[in-house]
């Protein structure tokens, strides 16, 4: 369901990621877009053009913040300076929720800038849930955690990825940003049925869905966000919507970015699967 406590009770439809090559088109043409997702770290600054553009976007559009380096899954606690900057940005954007990834990526203050996969252990469940709760309490906003694409699995794992996700969000009492492309990519890399994953997710906690394209290599798939969404991913999206109802949906396109209109057209394909607001209310 779109408007729940995990979305700050806000109803969002189909959005797209705000990317630099589209700035001018958006500012000049003011296209009708339900909402934009921003990468928080690109705007956690003290001045200059990025914030100036963001302020102009905020005059006309709803913006939701999505992070790439909070690293909920780090064994260490969240970085307080990062949290302070992030919170300041949430005041600027008035984002109804914030999202970041169910992954780790820094040790002793050294950042990999990657979304590294979790070992699915009980210790990791506890530490990740602790970190998410800390972030949620500090930001005073709902947090949604996103499943990542992965290329490796750990011997230490004690459960499946979706069992891990479910345990974490239950203990942290947070939302889920369900990335159906990531589920597809990981299912191909780790040879599981992606529908098992989608069917196992607690639907009531899904605050947002990501869709995207990827790149297939000979023996694995990389989550490159540089292609249109492929039919098997749309199939997963359809199933997710059947289970979750109308859900805020966002197309990610980060590399070889085509024109704004092409990206927007690709995103709007999602509306075919989304129930409208009235149908959702009646349900």
């Amino acid at each position: 369901m779109s408007a729940t406590r995990f979305t700050g009770h806000a109803d969002y439809g189909v959005g797209i990621g705000l990317r630099i090559p589209h700035y001018q088109h958006i500012l000049d043409r003011r296209p009708g877009v339900d909402w934009f997702e921003i990468i928080s770290e690109n705007y956690m600054l003290d001045g200059g053009r990025p914030l100036a553009v963001l302020d102009r976007i905020l005059e006309r559009y709803r913006v939701v913040q999505h992070g790439v380096s909070m690293y909920f899954g780090n064994f260490a606690r969240p970085n307080r300076d990062h949290l302070k900057k992030l919170k300041a940005l949430t005041h600027r954007t008035r984002t109804p929720w914030v999202s970041d990834h169910l992954c780790w990526g820094s040790v002793d203050g050294r950042y990999t800038h990657d979304l590294l996969p979790m070992p699915y252990t009980w210790e990791a469940v506890e530490k990740t849930a602790r970190n998410i709760r800390e972030v949620q309490d500090f930001l005073e906003l709902p947090v949604a955690v996103e499943n990542v694409s992965s290329y490796a699995e750990f011997h230490a794992s004690e459960m499946s990825e979706w069992e891990f996700l479910n345990e974490v969000v239950e203990r942290a009492d947070c939302g889920i940003l369900l990335d159906v492309n990531n589920i597809y990519v990981s299912s191909q890399n780790h040879t599981f049925d992606p529908l098992d994953y989608v069917n196992a997710v607690p639907a009531a906690r899904v605050a947002q869905i990501h869709i995207a394209g990827h790149t297939r290599h000979e023996r694995y798939i990389l989550d490159t966000h540089d292609h249109p969404v492929i039919p098997p991913v749309w199939k997963l999206y359809k199933r997710a919507i059947e289970r979750c109802g109308r859900t805020a949906t966002l197309l990610e396109w980060d590399d070889r970015i085509p024109s704004f209109d092409e990206v927007h057209r690709e995103a709007l394909k999602a509306t075919k699967y989304l129930p409208d607001e009235k149908a959702n209310a009646a349900a």
Binding site: N42, R110, D114, L116, E123, T224, D255
Partner: protein
């Protein structure tokens, strides 16, 4: 959902796994952009990978770790190249890559943003001249200016100085500072002109995302003819959110540097012309003209 009961923990701790994986991910790649076959202690990387990463029918443990190892280096080298295209043009692709790996091994990212990746590069170049010889001075100038451009792009702006403030006080009591986004540099080469040329041949992009790189991007531009040394004083600043270079007279450079260091206006002016043959009247006229420009550009704030 009903909470499951955790079984007794028997495996490696989360901290141990993350430390080991971090070492594997951040080890420099080979010249063929593959993971190194030998681990730091001389054992086989394949054995280390197999000790904590599962293989499957598609990939070995080594190959799975290698994907992350490549992604790490492609991502940070890509960002570093974006930030220091001028330096890359000075050194050429292969030398720049060697320098980049040496620098990034010594100074990996300590920020949630890749924006700060090159902050320590000028100091690193000063301490490792062999990496840039025989073009060390030019490389250092270029790195300083390219880092200053990043600062000028998005560092904060203080409320510009109200001209009435200047009128109300005597020069001995006026203390001013430069906007934080401005960097003043004394250079030995006309790096500003070189960068303008290079910018014409490349596009500016760059932002964080959660996508991975399909491969490392290469847009090599080599500056074959190195410019003759030409001392100059440069301010790297911004106007209407765009970054600009402004050449300064030596006395103006000294004056601004002194003001920014906390000197009074009177003291800064005195130090600016202490070794200058400029007469008092001409000096006063210059200072008036400079201040008019700097106020118009919004460079000055209350000290």
């Amino acid at each position: 959902m009903k909470k499951r009961t955790p079984p007794r923990d028997t495996g490696a701790s989360l901290e141990e796994i993350q430390r080991l994986m971090t070492r594997a991910v951040t080890r420099p790649l080979t010249s063929g952009e593959r993971s190194q076959r030998a681990w730091a202690d001389g054992s086989r990387t394949a054995d280390v990978a197999a000790s904590f990463i599962k293989p499957n029918d598609l990939l070995t443990s080594f190959e799975r770790v290698q994907i992350y190892n490549q992604q790490y280096w492609w991502r940070i080298l890509g960002s570093f190249q974006e930030d220091f295209r001028g330096l890359r043009a000075v050194l050429g692709e292969r030398r720049f890559d060697r320098l980049a790996v040496a620098y990034l091994e010594a100074h990996g990212s300590t920020s949630w943003s890749l924006r700060n990746l090159g902050k320590l590069l000028p100091a690193f170049l000063e301490n490792h001249p062999a990496l840039t010889a025989p073009h060390t001075a030019l490389a250092l100038d270029m790195a300083r200016v390219e880092w200053a451009r990043i600062v000028a792009f998005d560092d904060p702006e203080l409320p510009p100085l109200d001209p009435a403030t200047l009128a109300r006080k005597t020069p001995a009591t006026i203390r001013l500072r430069l906007q934080p986004y401005i960097t003043l540099l004394a250079l030995a080469h006309p790096v500003d002109a070189l960068l303008r040329k290079l910018r014409q041949s490349t596009l500016e992009t760059g932002s964080a995302s959660n996508a991975v790189a399909a491969s490392r991007r290469r847009r090599p531009v080599l500056l074959r003819a190195k410019p003759e040394p030409t001392p100059l004083h440069l301010a790297i600043h911004r106007v209407d959110l765009s970054v600009y270079f402004k050449r300064l007279e030596p006395e103006a450079f000294i004056l601004l540097t002194a003001l920014n260091a906390g000197a009074s206006l009177e003291g800064a002016c005195a130090s600016a012309f202490a070794k200058s043959p400029t007469g008092a009247e001409e000096a006063a006229a210059k200072v008036r003209e400079w201040f008019a420009t700097w106020m118009e550009l919004g460079w000055l704030a209350k000290g």
